[in-house]
């Protein structure tokens, strides 16, 4: 027997109380961990997705966000395909290439996939690697519509180049992203039935780690017909010349394309970063709230526990336990609660992020292990802070008043 062992036995024998004591702290930490894991990935992810886009200007329907574009819900807004003609026929200089796309989330069997209609030639042409790394504006200058050779000379022999090297994408043919292929067990030259139409899988694309892995690419015309959204597209990806962008290409495009949102990827990325900053502030406020709510809830639990065990405290003091033993009893208990709350909060928050991330943010969330350390430290700090006062009172109890039978 030791005081520590006594603490463990008491905790174990009163497990159900333990759970209520832990609830607030665990939930609080879970929420923060979930938000953090999602926002940390979303930043990287937007960057990666846009990188993969290969374009530097995106024309989206008014009111659509980049997220809408990626999640491709059934009611996502569209814009007229004529806009492609309109840009071509305009006098605007500096548009090197365009790729209209129509994307929609559809069901294949019981699986959900994103069907993307592309125009093969233009798709390839507007898909050069326009940067060396990262997504900051500065690097846009490194590649203003560079050709394939230029890319390779930059040492960018990227899968994306190989993948986009498709001259034709006939009607009834499709390309499958690696994840889709996996999930639906697709093979090259195999068949896939999408909304009643048979497509032949002509290629399985290599894994890129982006939403593209979850997509099936087919000819734009087919997709428009299939989805009954003829002459509409979800977005037009434009490869604009960098000089032209800085000389006002965006506002020129806005003038001729009403009801659209014309942005550079740089803007999109910075919007995302702003969102993440906002999330960080929200998280900070939540941290403070959770500190108090969690601390008070644990303190309340410990105080109830102290009162329930008044007689026991009296007995221990009678037998020669000094005040420090009483401190040890309750602070060790709080410490254990803190560690448990931190671990449970981390696990449930991470789980929530991993499970909900794809649905809520269209993002694949991975566990961030360092958050376990922070969760436990934070939770322990809350638990100890909340328990300090009740424990102080317990240690100061008059031993004899608590010895009498009640």
């Amino acid at each position: 027997m030791t005081i520590s062992k006594l603490v463990f036995i008491e905790l174990w024998k009163r497990k159900s109380q333990l759970i209520t004591g832990l609830l607030a702290i665990t939930l609080g930490i879970a929420v923060i961990v979930a938000i953090q894991s999602v926002s940390v990935v979303s930043e990287q992810n937007v960057a990666r997705n846009l990188d993969n886009l290969g374009a530097n200007i995106l024309v989206l329907p008014q009111g659509a966000s980049i997220d809408d574009y990626y999640t491709s819900d059934i009611d996502a807004p569209t814009l007229p395909m004529d806009y492609v003609e309109r840009i071509l026929n305009s006098t605007i200089a500096g548009v090197d290439n365009m790729s209209p796309k129509l994307t929609r989330r559809v069901k294949v069997g019981d699986q959900s996939v994103v069907l993307t209609g592309i125009l093969p030639k233009s798709e390839i042409a507007s898909k050069p690697l326009w940067q060396t790394s990262g997504l900051t504006g500065a690097q846009l200058t490194t590649a203003c519509a560079p050709n394939k050779t230029a890319n390779i000379s930059h040492g960018l022999e990227d899968e994306k180049l190989k993948r986009k090297a498709i001259d034709t994408l006939y009607s009834d043919d499709c390309l499958a992203g690696s994840q889709v292929a996996n999930r639906l067990k697709l093979r090259v030259n195999g068949r896939i039935n999408i909304m009643g139409k048979e497509f032949k899988v002509v290629k399985i694309l290599p894994e890129t780690g982006t939403v593209d892995d979850d997509r099936v690419f087919a000819n734009l015309k087919d997709v428009q017909k299939l989805l009954k959204i003829e002459n509409q597209v979800s977005a037009i990806e434009i490869m604009g010349c960098c000089n032209a962008i800085s000389e006002g290409l965006l506002s020129q495009l806005r003038n001729i394309l009403p009801d659209t949102r014309v942005t550079t990827i740089g803007q999109i990325v910075s919007t995302q970063i702003e969102t993440n900053h906002l999330m960080k502030k929200v998280t900070l406020v939540m941290l403070i709230i959770i500190f108090f709510v969690g601390g008070i809830s644990i303190g309340n639990y410990i105080w109830a526990n102290v009162n329930e065990r008044k007689r026991e405290i009296g007995m221990l003091r009678m037998m020669g336990a000094d005040r420090s033993a009483i401190y040890k009893m309750f602070l060790l208990k709080a410490l254990i609660l803190g560690v448990a709350g931190g671990i449970l909060g981390y696990l449930s928050g991470t789980l929530a992020g991993v499970v909900l991330g794809p649905y809520l943010a269209g993002i694949i969330v991975k566990p961030v292990f360092i958050y376990l350390l922070w969760s436990v430290l934070f939770s322990v700090a809350i638990a100890l802070a909340g328990s300090l006062f009740p424990t102080y009172l317990a240690a100061r109890f008059d031993p004899h008043t608590n010895l009498q039978e009640d």
Binding site: L6, M319, G320, H400
Partner: protein, 223 residues
Amino acid sequence: MMLQGENILKQYHHKGGVINALDHVSFTVEKGDFVTVTGPSGSGKSTLLLSIFGLIRLSSGTIVFDGRRIDNINDRQLTAIRKISVGYILQGFALIPYLTTIQNVMIPLALEKVPGKEQVKRASEILDYVGLADRMEHLPGELSAGQQQRVAIARSIVHRPKIIMADEPTGNLDPSLSLEILDFLKKINQENNITIMMVTHSPVAAEYGTRKLHLNDGRIIKS
């Protein structure tokens, strides 16, 4: 002389005025004594028993234990004396409800930081001594009243105290169980030469005393 109290005063302040729970009480206890403290309800018996080793702090008076003044030492020092030299038995058994019999008995050893193995050895020996060798893994709630009080006795002697302070140890037991417990205390007193100070209501229990204190209204009227 093992224990001596002189002019012990314990006052409780009330709205209605001051109550002298102990009113200039003096007494002496020799090593090996079996002291009984009797008196009507409210006469100050428990107050006396609990104040000697500081569970209740006195208003004034001196207490000497083993040649050392203990009425004016601090809480930490008093706690240490209780831990090493005193064993308490109360009317309401006072066992820790979620610990097994043997774990309850090991508590005083745990407080003295006796190594685990030795704790088990000594606690088992004592439980054997009080006839509960087959109840070591029971929880207090699974024991009869007499058995619970024997666990409490085992706990009060496991750390080999110099003195046992018992406040109506048979108060919750029926007469035959009471005799069993009293005989047991007598055995401990005689076999191990442990001094016992026992508060009791019962005239039968009082007969066990080799030295008798009778309190009335906070004053010793017979000793």
